[in-house]
Symmetry: C2
Subunit: 128 residues, 2 copies
DNA sequence: CCTTTGGCTTTGCATGGGAAAGTAGTCGGC
DNA sequence: GCCGACTACTTTCCCATGCAAAGCCAAAGG
């Protein structure tokens, strides 16, 4: 049965964290999620194909959101920035990917349903 | 083995379609993906919890991107807008969710790895 | 020295999302 | 047959934000 009734806000995806739902930031955080020992600015730059300025900006955003922790130090005499996920950040990330999973589940369902649907005009609809 | 070597751009996610990778639009397109017979403006508004203006704007973006197809008509004497995924749009959406799947795979990997990693300072790193 | 390179930060711009206001036609009451 | 509320969108505006280019500073190197 093709039950037309759907829940309001069914596809609102309120849980999709704005800070994390972002190409660049998603890449950054995913890189970091795998490494409890963190990553250096330069590594991140290469892994995510970001420009310096870009990365800098996103790191600031993530830090201000409390998702990452930035430690400025030195390697020999050159400055080096070490970034890590905070515990809270990791939690938030996990929540985010949970929502993503449900989006994906919807998508897969949608793809399945689509294959057996037929294209019709809605009842009483007359084109302009 | 904790192989440090990673591919450049490993987490760049170039394939993450900007038009689709968007809370609101993602909801809209996912709603539409399940229904070959399309959805009305009002339905979409409710399903995605969007304001009229918001929805209108996103629909225009999606239409201009060739992802959806908008038909303006009437139901009785009231105007009604019917939106549908185009074939190209559906394809693009499927590509998008494929990328999403790989992101998710990365994320799950990351979560697994994290549990057995230990927090250490990088070799030769001295805090500021 | 004086330039180049490495490692970031800052600035500036242009896009782009979202709230609010606007438009246009409809329905219902009196 | 006018008036106000409503339905169905569209347009306008503003602010946040992504991204690139330029800037900054210390350290090598010729």
């Amino acid at each position: 049965m093709t039950d037309k009734k759907e829940v309001e806000g069914r596809y609102a995806y309120e849980g999709l964290d704005r800070v994390l739902h972002e190409k660049a930031r998603l890449g950054i955080v995913t890189s970091l999620a795998a490494r409890a020992d963190g990553l250096l600015f330069t590594d991140l730059k290469n892994l995510c194909n970001l420009t310096d300025g870009n990365l800098s900006r996103h790191l600031t955003v993530l830090q201000e959101a409390g998702i990452i922790d930035i430690q400025k130090g030195f390697r020999g005499r050159r400055p080096q920035t070490l970034t890590r996920l905070t515990d809270g950040g990791r939690k938030r990330y996990l929540e985010y990917i949970t929502v993503l999973e449900s989006v994906l589940a919807d998508a897969v369902d949608a793809a399945k349903v689509a294959r057996r649907a037929k294209k019709v005009m809605p009842e009483g609809f007359s084109p302009a």
